[in-house]
Structures are given as structure tokens and as C-alpha cells.
Symmetry: C2
Subunit: 552 residues, 2 copies
């Protein structure tokens, strides 16, 4: 395999641990804090987690290691979408496992949670691990989206654990995976298997964030990668002075990624789904907001601009959700076949018009034809519209174009409008982790083993104080159940970690809100450039503006 | 304006000059070589350039500066599409202008060649220049696509030059702009204006390359940016193991950008337009080649991959060019209105079918409906199909999907195929220039002024030996007319610089050709990562693999 010069150089990078973990395994002692309780629904959650609920928060300190020595055989899985730094979690875990006792074993189960079910694994050794240090991707053992949540699955996992003599399982994943880690931990404890379960907080989307998780890993690198590209496009827009660029960014429902990119690049427009929902904005109102910026800039002679669109935006538009709901109902059952049998778009359109309420139809009519057709092109396995496939960047640019044409007729706009469209997502999920993510992830993995060594289960590997230099980071653990509340999922009440949405009274949004009227008219672009792994510390070691504002 | 940490840090970077230019202006002497002649059509070109043809090639050396002192007032323009490093050409030029005499003046004409016609300019000073050192973009004075080529334009330029007392004009642009620079130089010489004209070779497309131009500036940074993204996507593909990514890259007709990215990232497929043309490949044959890779990888359990598609590919497919030609003819004149008046796609399809030859129709029928419609959506001002708007990445993935469906029926393919599409272009044109481009561009600008000082006109600022460290680079000049041949353009014979296409017997293509059969089946991806401006020299100072292979 041919390695790039950067990959070779990154092998030599030594990730920074929190100061308290730097003295060697023999000099890490544990300090327990107060017992915890879940953020809501305490009684119900306590009842569901009799063996793992209410445990104490934990911090590590410099001091004599008092953990009882035993041979450790640890299994690890990667779960869900890629996030930069996943490899380093495993490297940190491996180094702690081996530093404690070279006879300890780390097994990697392949292809996500299904690897644990199918007993598909490898045993790590130095040579193997060294090839993945400080690299992006999840290709070290692959990932998958199987959910570990049923009793039958847990029984199989227990057998696999017994076969290998597993003492612990580390699950690297998002909110659902960590929820399931807590459920598995409870199962393992209730059945006296002796298998501990530890979670690590992963997602580029930034929606796994709460009192105990300052930032999920990967968010820093992914948003830096998207910001690099958005900044480059801004500079291009400001040089060519002839295009409006509509840039959709990944991030699922929440708009954390879009907001962070906006803080880094200061575009003319950034939509925030949570605000759209709170203000119950219509598609037309959103397009008005963009068209207003286009017209004001055109009046200054600036017929160019950049707008950031979060992937999840349309879900937050109440009228659009209503439309999608009606379409899903309209095409349920045998209607799908009937609809598909219609040969022309005119016939299909008539079918749609006859089936939707006037209210839904009035929304449907506003959409450009290309988007109307996208709603019927591909359905998910349940026959539902795939909202994530809707090219919302094209939707809004088409609506803005129509509005500008009307404004031109009315004499309120005299400019030129030409749009380019971009979608950034896959480009950022497997980048070489930034120094921050490389350090944070390595620390999460190393720290996860300290929790294992001291016998904790159902805990999240917690590293905090992250807006400070790594020396001052705080390593410890928190019961995952502490983050739980009960939510309705698929018709059942379930204990889950609440997804973090952008808080409209939080500092990052407030900062943006105070400045965006100026950014909409002025050319206030900031050009972050490519992620730097070397060079001045202020260039290569600083994490997100979101975290700086939240903790600053 | 808020500056990013990287932008602030890049202000401190000192671009490296060729060794021979490092001793201060007073210690640069000139060495003239042999007289030159154009690469073809010598007599005709000599007749067109009586005052500037056949001049000697020039090299600078360390030695006493013998240029006659005079006050210099230099104008500079940026022409055409953005390329990283344009700002540094101007910074290098400015530094040489001012280092020679602080009373010398550098004027920047705004918005491209039209700035010179409209006398829209600024005078540079230290503070202004310092804000653009080592940054991307052309926003320092903007760019434009007006062509300077008519006598009337030259007369106006002469008046503008007289008004400012211009002694020289530096034109930073691609092949056409440099061609026009030579024509302007001849005009200025023939009319005894005393105004010299110097060109600098710019384009990310890499198609301005010949015996005297080893690489055009911007190509290094742009291809590194695209390669970063392609590498990240490869790593994502290899982690998720469920998508084939079709990545279109900018680069106009030639496939230099695609080829360089392929050399950097080792994808499963990279199409090369020049090969498609040479082998007279059909769309179906190209799709077969990709489908073959998909099927072979699927047989190994790898239902994922990455294919690079050069922007200009479809122009090189003979049957596709024929189809486009027929469509342009079919919809010429009043037929456009007739066609547009048809309300359904079915009616339009019937119109097309009636108007095309059977041969063209057989190509049209192969296209997915979405692409068929793209051919009629937007036409250029002459009513022609806009080939560059055709989403060829979607064209080929749709054709591959159809082929795989047939192979599945025939039992020759048992896999899953799911595609993602990307287009990278604007992301790379305004990135912070790599160290190579920062150094090369600064040298081009600095060197351009040495040519001015020594009285040359119609010359290209030439810096060569670029695969070596900057210390060993060779600075000099070459008459632009040396690169000319006669070509038919818009019905007239014109002297032009021949556009460089990928040479199928050149080392870069040969290197690729020898390895691609293995890459098509194996997962041989290389992950270049983000451009680094700091760190180990092998990470941050190396230019393209194309240049290394050509000069190595």
C-alpha cells in the first residue's frame, strides 16, 4: 500500500493526554464524586437500570493505582457513521491495555455491532495498531448500523464474551449506541457476566452534547474540513463576483455543523433549523430572507454570495413536514403501485392534487418541479419520502430565483442572480483527525481503559475542560444513565440520551444572531484554510468556535 | 474584517525565490541565449510579429545589474478563472518594483482586462499588498474574461498607458491571455509606445504546459485540494463499504487535473478524455469499463469504490459530440421556440426523435432521462447545448447501474450498487496557495519585473527546474511567440499557444496505465490529507506527481 507523506508523518505524532493521565498507569488513582441521577424521569429510569443506576461520577488523579490486578480481555466496536478520530480511540485504548500488562488483549469486532453478534474479530498487535495511529476513517475494523438492543442479541453477545473471556466491551458510537451500551451494561450486570461496558461519544453531527459531553469527537475535524471548503468558495465568490453559492452541509436534524461553519466563515446566510421550527417559518419566508440578502447586496453592486443550508432544514419547516406526512399517507399501501403505473408527470400531478388537502397542495405548488419529482423518486423501505435525499440547496435557490424575478418586475431588485450548488458531507467524515480530535480521541480510549481497570460499567468515558490545553483536561467517567430521559420511540417509551439541538438562547447562536444582519449585506468572509497539523499552536491546536463560546 | 489564524500565520511566510534572484536587485544580471523560433508555422508567425518574433531566450544570473535606470510605472491585470497564487505574483512583482526604486509605481487594473480598457485601477502600497501575501483568490483586484484582442481595444489601452506613463503591463492569465499579451506587445512595439508586455502562466487546468512552461501556477494547489477530498471520500468508502462515489473534477477539456488526482489517490477508476478520444470510445464502452471494476470488486465482497471523472470527458466521446452537434442544429433558429412551446416531455421527445438521424438517436436513447433533459434545459447565448452543465458523473453512474442490472439478470454480477455524486471545482481555485505555488508565483512576479527592467517585451516570465528545491530553480524569460502555432478559431487562422492535452505516451499517463488494472480491483487508495503549509518538508514542500514523473 502506498502511503502519503502526511500519513507517514502523522504516524510520528504523539497525541496529548490530559495531565492527570500522563504519569503512567501505576500513578493513576480514582476519586469518586457524588451519586448521580438521570436528567429526567428518575424513578422510571432507576427501575429500568437497577444494577447500574445512580452510580457516582468519577475523576482520575495522579496517585497510586489501587485497581485490583487481573488479566483484561477487552472488545471494542465502532458503531454508525464515520467520524475522524475513531482510530485514535482504539489506539489509546490499546496503549492503556498493553501498558497495564502486555498479556492483556484487545479484540476488535468487525463491521460494527454485528461483528459482536457474528463473532467476527481480530486481535490487535503493535504492528496493526501502528498502521492506524492518527489516521482518519473507520477502516481499522469497519463500522455498521446494526443496533444492539434485544435480549436475543444480548444473549449472543454474552456467549461471544464468554468464549473470549471478555472482561469489558467498549462501544464507540453516537447517542443511540451509547444508550444501547447502557442497556447492555445493565444486562451484563443483572446476569453477573462480569463483563463491563463503556461508551465513547462519537458523531460529526455535534448532537451528542450535554452537561457531561462538551463535544462529540469528529465534530471538530469535520467542521474544519467543511469550513475550509466554504471559505475557499467564499474567496472564489468574492473574486469572480458572479455566483451565489448554496452549500448544504451534513449534520442530520440539528444545525450544529452549519452553525459552527458559519462562525468559522461568516457567510451571507446560514439557516438554522431550530430557529425555523421555533418561529414556525414557511418555505416562502425562508426564501424571502435569502432573497432580501441577495437584493441588498445587489444594490451595493455585489451580485454574489454564500448561503449555508443545514441538511436537516426541511424537517423543521412545519408546512413541509405536514406535506411529507400527507404524501406518505397518500402513497401508502396499494396506492404506490397505482401511482407508479401513471406514465406521465401530468397524470401523476393530477393524482397528487386529488389526494392532498388544499393546505398541503398549496405547499406542494410552491416547490420547483425538480423538487416535486424528488419527493416521489425514491422511497425508504417503509414507502416513505426520503427527506435526506431532497436537494434543499436547489430548492431554496430555485425559490429565491422566482422571488427575485417578481421583485425585478416590481422594480425592487436590479441585479443578476446565478447559483451554484454544493453538498459537503462524505468529504469530512474520514479526514485525518485534527490535533484536537487526535488528542481527544486518544484520551477517550486511554481513559476508557482506566474506567475498566477500576471496575466501572455503564459509564461514558468522559474527558472535559476541552477548551483549555490538553494538560488541563479532566479525565473521568459518568454513568450513561445519568444522561437519560424517557422518550416515545416507535410507539414505546424508551430511556434515551436526549439529542442536543442548537439552543436559541445559547451563546453560539446568540453570537451568530447578533452579527448575521451585517454579514447578510457586507462581505465579511473569513477564510479558515485547510486543517493544519503542524505550525503555530494557534493555527493547529484550537478547537471549535462553538466550544469556545460555550465555555468561554 | 476577521482574519483566520491561518491567514495571519501565512502573512509571515517568506516565499522562496530561485537562488539566482536572492542576492538583491543590484546583483542580478542577464544572460541571453540563442534566438528562438515558433514551434510551428514559423514564416506566418514571423510575419505577424515583425517586432517581437525570434528574440533570444533569457536567463538571470548572479552578477552586476546592468539595466539602465529609469522610473518604472507598471500595470498588472488578472485574467480569467481564479488560481491559487495569483496574489503572490502581484506581491513578487510589487516587491521587485519597489526594491529597485521606491518611487517606482505598481498599478492594479480591476476586474480583469476590462479594467485596463475602463481605466479602473488602484495604486498599490505596502499596507495594501501585505493584506494579500500568500493568500488565495483573485480578490486583490478581481479578474474578468474580457479578451484584449482588437485594434480598437489596443488603442484605448495605449491611451490609458500614456495617461499613467506606463512602462510595462503584466498580464497574468491562461493560454488565450498570454497569446493576447504577445499580440499586445507586438502592437505596442509597432507603435513605438515604449510599453513592454510580460505574461505569467496561470491556470488550475494544467493545459498551459510546454517545453518552456513546466507547470502553470495554481495546478499544484487545486489538485492537492481535490486530492484531499477524494482521499477522504476513499477512506469513507473503505470504512462504510457501501457506496460507489463518482467524483467529477474541474479542468476544462484536458484531463490533467483528473490524472494528477488519480496519481495522488489511486482510485478504482479514472477516466482520461484524451484516451477516450484516441480509442474512439462510446459512452457504453466507458460505462462497461466502470461496470467491470464494480463487478470484479463485488466478487471480492467490495461493494464500494471511487471513480474520477474529468469535467471535459463527454466532449471527447465521438458519438456524443455528434449528438450534440445534431441537437444544436436541430434547435437552431425558430425551432427553439417551437420546441419550448411543447408542454410535455413526451411531445418534446417525439420532436427530438423526428429531428435527429437514427445514429444520433441511438446515442440519445442510451442516456438516462435526467441527462436527456439536461441537454435541453439551458442553452448558451448562441443557442447551443452547454456541455459543461451536463452532470457526467450522474450519466455514468446511471449507465453503470443499468449495465449491472443486466449483468445480474445474466448471472455475471451478484453485488449491491449504490452511488454518490460529487463535483469539485470552486473548492480548489481559491485555496491558500501551497508552499510550492506561493514560492513559484512570487518568483514569477519578481522575475517578471527583471524582464521589464532589462527591456524585454512579448516575453513570458519563465521559472523552471521546478521539481528541484527553489534554490535550484532557474529564472528567465522566453518570447511568447516561440510557443505559437497557427490554429483555426471561429473560421480564422490565428497564432495561438497550443493547449496541452494529456499525452498518452507521457510518463504520467504511462505510470497510471501500468497500475490501473490493479487499482480497479484492489483497494489501493492513498490518502493525501489536507494541504500542509508547515511541518516536515516532504509533507509541505513537494509539488505534483505529474511534474515529478515528467522531470524525474
Amino acid at each position: 500500500m502506498a502511503l502519503s507523506p502526511l500519513q507517514k508523518a502523522r504516524y510520528e505524532y504523539s497525541p496529548k493526554l490530559p495531565g492527570m493521565l500522563r504519569n503512567g498507569i501505576a500513578d493513576i488513582c480514582v476519586k469518586e464524586g457524588a451519586p448521580t441521577q438521570s436528567v429526567a424521569d428518575q424513578d422510571r429510569i432507576k427501575a429500568l437500570f437497577p444494577n447500574t443506576y445512580g452510580k457516582k461520577e468519577v475523576t482520575f488523579e495522579k496517585g497510586k493505582n489501587t485497581a485490583a490486578p487481573k488479566k483484561q480481555v477487552v472488545g471494542v466496536i465502532l458503531s454508525g457513521g464515520q467520524a475522524p478520530g475513531g482510530h485514535n480511540v482504539i489506539c489509546g485504548l490499546y496503549d492503556a491495555v498493553k501498558a497495564t500488562d502486555k498479556d492483556n488483549v484487545l479484540l476488535g469486532f468487525k463491521g460494527g455491532p454485528s461483528g459482536l453478534i457474528e463473532d467476527d474479530y481480530i486481535e490487535f498487535d503493535d504492528a496493526f495498531i501502528d498502521a492506524y495511529r492518527n489516521t482518519g476513517g473507520f477502516d481499522i475494523i469497519g463500522s455498521g448500523r446494526t443496533k444492539l438492543e434485544t435480549e436475543e442479541q444480548f444473549e449472543i453477545v454474552t456467549k461471544v464474551a464468554e468464549k473470549h473471556g471478555l472482561t469489558a466491551i467498549v462501544i464507540i458510537g453516537g447517542d443511540d449506541s451509547n444508550t444501547n451500551a447502557a442497556v447492555l451494561a445493565e444486562y451484563m450486570a443483572a446476569h453477573n457476566t462480569g463483563v463491563q461496558v463503556i461508551g465513547c461519544p462519537k458523531t460529526i453531527d455535534g448532537d451528542l452534547k450535554n452537561e457531561d459531553i462538551e463535544i462529540s469527537f469528529g465534530f471538530d475535524t469535520a467542521t474544519k474540513t467543511y469550513s475550509e471548503l466554504i471559505g475557499n468558495i467564499e474567496r472564489d465568490a468574492n473574486s469572480a463576483k458572479k455566483y451565489w453559492h448554496f452549500v448544504k452541509v451534513m449534520g442530520r436534524s440539528a444545525s450544529h455543523v452549519a452553525l459552527e461553519c458559519a462562525l468559522e466563515t461568516q457567510p451571507n446566510i446560514c439557516l438554522i433549523g431550530e430557529e425555523v421550527a421555533a418561529k414556525k417559518m414557511s418555505l416562502s419566508q425562508i426564501a424571502d430572507q435569502i432573497a432580501d440578502s441577495v437584493a441588498k447586496r445587489a444594490a451595493n453592486g455585489d451580485n454574489f454570495g454564500v448561503a449555508i443550508i443545514p441538511e436537516g432544514i426541511v424537517e423543521f419547516v412545519p408546512e413541509f413536514s405536514m406535506l411529507i406526512g400527507e404524501i406518505n399517507e397518500l402513497l401508502a399501501g396499494e396506492n404506490t403501485a397505482k401511482f407508479n403505473a401513471l406514465s406521465t408527470w401530468e397524470d401523476k400531478y393530477a393524482f397528487i392534487k386529488a389526494g392532498l388537502t388544499d393546505e398541503a397542495m398549496s405547499v406542494f405548488e410552491v416547490l420547483p418541479q425538480g423538487i416535486q419529482q424528488q419527493l416521489f423518486l425514491e422511497r425508504d423501505p417503509h414507502g416513505n419520502v426520503q427527506v435526506s435525499l431532497i436537494e434543499s440547496e436547489k430548492l431554496f435557490s430555485a425559490m429565491v430565483k422566482e422571488k427575485l424575478a417578481k421583485m425585478k418586475e416590481a422594480g425592487t431588485y436590479k441585479g443578476k442572480f446565478s447559483a451554484q450548488h454544493h453538498f459537503f458531507g462524505y468529504e469530512g467524515r474520514c479526514a485525518f483527525p485534527s490535533n484536537f480530535d487526535a488528542d481527544y480521541c486518544y484520551s477517550l480510549g486511554y481513559n476508557a481503559f482506566m474506567l475498566i481497570q477500576y471496575g466501572y460499567t455503564g459509564y461514558l468515558s468522559k474527558v472535559s475542560n476541552l477548551s483549555k490545553p490538553a494538560e488541563e483536561w479532566i479525565a473521568g467517567g459518568m454513568p450513561i444513565s445519568k444522561m437519560f430521559n424517557m422518550e416515545r420511540r416507535n410507539g414505546k417509551d424508551k430511556p434515551v440520551i436526549r439529542k442536543a439541538l442548537v439552543e436559541l438562547d445559547g451563546k453560539p447562536f446568540k453570537y451568530f444572531e447578533e452579527r448575521r444582519a451585517a454579514w447578510a449585506v457586507e462581505t465579511a468572509y473569513t477564510y479558515p484554510g485547510a486543517i493544519q497539523y503542524y505550525g503555530p499552536s494557534e493555527v493547529c491546536d484550537i478547537t471549535t468556535k462553538t466550544l469556545a463560546l460555550e465555555k468561554g
